[in-house]
């Protein structure tokens, strides 16, 4: 065990800032991170044990106990539940004879829950030993457990054919489907590697930034910061080395467009990173990918190698003297908050994914305290097209404030869930038509994931774009027969509670209190005051450091705003005060222990 860990430590040059990679490799090799290895890592890296431990214990996919030879991580997102995840979960528990969070006594199988894994268009889905299993049914769960008991490898367990496109390629071999339903100027098939780089090297970095500024492009991650301006800051920032980060953490439940880009258009993405590197003067790019997409690693590494072989990456790219740029892939280990750019940087430095205080902004002081530009996957793909076709061309697409196209990840109650590239300016009604959902059957649409807003039918004429409904691109369609508060809001609140980094007091404590208020209302013990409390308490989160904390009350607040009647019909009309105390429940445990019959 010790020598295995030593080999891993040496592979990463005993570099403290590569702790994530070290831990990921240890986890993969041993199935968990034993304490003795934690101590070994600490000693070798000159850290204390608790210092290594604080990184390990932060991430969902690191475990300090054995997770079984086979570890099943079943998604528990709202859409997974909508698609029958609970039946699959029950089947796994029955077949394995264990609960979630447990490992079978023989150490063969561990069963765990996990938040949205970016497969909302093919739920219920699970990750088993880093392989993705989609469209699960209770029957499939039974088959999988049988295969496990027969000792099959995960790759031999698939009874489905491989997915579409690159998912079939030798380096991926996955049953995941791309579900690309609408291709636009960014996702179009005609792109070949190097196209934009050939043009790029004839431009000055300033000219590149000028084109991007001209395009009026705004960051596609959701915050919508103007890309050209960010690059200009990056170019002007002082530092001996600069970095480009591509944020492929894609943790917002309901979003999966980056998964599709990473599968089908990685050349486009890498070229975008090269362009960004050229523009700001960075020599290194880091692609930070969520752990859930680990199955794409070999595929992505091979494409990076091809780019190096063709000198689209490396030294003096395409003969341009001094134009040096390379890319490395950094995997996460299961933490939604790492989608926040400064948390992502912390994570890439081997630390807990806790957002940093701003100022300073990453663009002045980012990765290893050097100027760092962090862009979304989709943004970097789009800039390639800007370089190829010009800023004016890009600007001619979409609306005044929202130029270009947007990739939408659409899931939930519709016929054709998948990825759609649309020009900005579509209304929700247009989209419902496009994806095969009858607007009269639709009760609500969750726009922008849990941190976004849930809107009702009276707002389906609203337009997607920064002028009206801004979104990072996730739309979850919720039909009439769903129970919004139980099926959606409660699930999302649990999600935020689990995913808080725990640093800000506001975000660490308040979401639990709000969830308990919601439960009280769902349990028919609510009164008017509880609704008022929710509104007041929700405001506290606005004082949190990062976007996660600031939006953690959104599932409740936005459903309360747009579906207030759902709350009001559940509260007690004839009572002003109810603290929810139930004597018969409160004495149950003591009566059981003493063998008494409760006398109330």
């Amino acid at each position: 065990m010790k020598t295995g860990a030593q080999r891993i430590l040496e592979k990463y040059g005993k570099d403290k800032t590569r702790l994530m990679d070290i831990l990921i490799d240890v986890q993969n090799e041993f199935g968990f991170i034993p304490r003795e290895i934690t101590v070994q890592i600490a000693d070798e890296l000159g850290m204390s044990e608790v210092d290594v431990d604080q990184t390990i214990s932060f991430y969902h996919f690191f475990s300090q106990k054995p997770t079984g030879k086979y570890h099943i991580y079943l998604n528990n997102s709202a859409v997974a539940n909508m698609m029958g995840r609970n039946d699959v979960a029950a089947a796994f528990m029955k077949e394995l004879g264990i609960k979630f969070g447990e490992v079978t006594p023989d150490g063969l199988v561990g069963l765990f829950e996990t938040a949205c894994i970016g497969m909302n268009d093919q739920e219920p889905a699970a990750i088993i030993n880093n392989q993705i299993f989609t469209r699960l049914t209770p029957f499939r769960a039974k088959e999988i457990v049988r295969d496990i008991r027969e000792g099959k490898s995960v790759n031999d367990m698939f009874v489905q054919d491989w997915g579409d496109g690159e998912n079939r390629s030798d380096l991926i071999k996955s049953v995941v489907s791309n579900n690309i339903r609408k291709i636009g100027p960014v996702l179009e098939r005609t792109f070949t590697a190097g196209q934009a780089i050939d043009k790029l090297i004839k431009m000055t970095p300033e000219q590149v930034i000028e084109e991007v500024k001209k395009s009026n492009m705004r960051g596609r991650g959701g915050a919508g910061f103007p890309t050209g301006l960010k690059w200009e800051f990056g170019r002007n920032a002082k530092g001996e080395k600069k970095y480009i980060f591509c944020n492929a953490d894609e943790g917002e439940p309901g979003t999966f467009k980056d998964r599709v880009i990473l599968t089908e258009r990685p050349r486009l993405l890498f070229e975008g990173m090269v362009i960004a590197g050229y523009a700001i003067g960075a020599t290194e790019g880091i692609l930070y990918i969520r752990h859930e997409y680990k199955y794409l690693q070999a595929h992505l590494e091979s494409i990076l190698q091809m780019a190096r072989d063709a000198n689209y990456l490396g030294k003096n790219i395409q003969g341009k003297k001094g134009f040096n740029f390379d890319i490395r892939i950094q995997f996460g280990a299961g933490a939604y908050v790492c989608g926040e750019e400064s948390a992502l940087i912390e994570s890439a430095e081997g630390k807990r994914g806790e957002p940093r205080d701003r100022p300073p902004f990453p663009v002045e002081k980012g990765y290893l305290d050097m100027p760092t530009v962090v862009n979304n996957v989709e943004t970097l793909c789009a800039v390639v097209k800007v370089v190829l076709n010009g800023g004016e061309w890009y600007k001619s697409l979409g609306t005044t404030e929202s130029t270009g196209t947007k990739l939408l990840s659409i899931s939930g109650d519709c016929k054709f869930p998948g990825v759609y590239e649309v020009v900005w300016g579509f209304s929700i009604n247009d989209i419902l038509d496009m994806v095969g959902a009858h607007s009269e059957d639709v009760q609500a649409v969750q726009v922008g994931g849990p941190s976004g807003a849930i809107i009702g039918r009276n707002e389906f004429n609203r337009i997607l774009g920064y002028e009206d409904l801004a979104t990072g691109g996730s739309l979850i369609i919720i039909s009439k027969h769903r129970d919004i508060l139980n099926d959606i809001v409660l699930n999302f609140m649990d999600f935020f509670i689990d995913e808080s980094c725990g640093s800000c007091s506001t975000c660490r404590i308040t979401p639990t209190l709000l969830r308990n208020k919601l439960l009280k209302i769902l349990n028919a013990r609510g009164v008017k005051q509880d609704i008022e409390d929710i509104v007041e308490w929700g405001k506290i989160l606005k004082a949190s450091r990062c976007g996660l904390g600031q939006t953690a009350a959104n599932p409740i607040l936005s459903s309360l705003k747009n579906f207030r009647h759902l709350y009001e019909e559940k509260i007690q009309k004839n009572k002003e005060y109810d603290c929810g105390f139930d004597l018969s429940l409160a004495v149950k445990e003591s009566c059981q222990v003493t063998g008494r019959v409760p006398n109330i």
Binding site: Y577, C579, F581, A586, E589, S590, V593, T594
Partner: protein
């Protein structure tokens, strides 16, 4: 005009808050002039004989009897005041919160260092005894409480100030030194 009527009780408390009431020293004579006591250990009236204006509650709720008494106070008193840390947040008795009841019973009756002579290993379970709650509850998590006077016990001056304010309807004066949690 008849005098305002005050009732008091100690639930899961140590009577320290009641001692603090007495600690207003000679002002107790003024107090007697000012109010009439009903159900209270101070005058030993065991049952409510009339509607009261003010109920002072010491202690939180650790068993079904506490809950019963607290609810009775809520019914009979116009204003309820939680007096002291135990009433407000469970206090020391609430240090058992979070520990399973069985462990608490075992510690108290079977394995604790002060257990003597319980060779039969009996955990009291007579039907006459109040039933123990799963945890100790602050009073406002059982019924509506109107005012809170922190302290362990609340300073006598604080109790005095609060009572006078409630009786006279004047604003409560709360000098910095009198509001303390210990």
């Amino acid at each position: 005009m008849s005098k305002p009527i005050v009732a008091t009780t100690s639930l899961a408390g140590c009577f320290g808050c009641h001692m603090s009431v007495l600690d207003i020293d000679e002002k107790i004579l003024e107090l007697i002039e000012l109010v009439e006591f009903n159900k209270s250990p101070i005058d030993d009236i065991k049952k409510f004989t009339k509607k009261c204006d003010i109920g002072l509650i010491e202690g939180g709720c650790c068993n079904s009897e506490n809950v019963h008494v607290l609810k009775e106070f809520r019914e009979h008193c116009r204003i309820l005041v939680a007096v002291g840390e135990c009433a407000i947040m469970g206090g020391l008795p609430a240090m058992r919160n979070g520990i399973p009841i069985e462990e608490c019973f075992n510690e108290a009756y079977l394995n604790g260092p002060t257990v003597v002579g319980n060779d039969a290993g009996i955990i009291p379970n007579d039907p006459e005894l109040p039933m123990i709650l799963d945890r100790v509850y602050p009073c406002h998590e059982i019924v509506k409480i109107d005012y809170f006077l922190p302290g362990c016990p609340p300073r006598a001056d604080l109790i005095w100030e609060a009572l006078v304010a409630l009786v006279t309807g004047d604003e409560m004066k709360l000098p910095y030194e009198v509001v303390k949690f210990d």
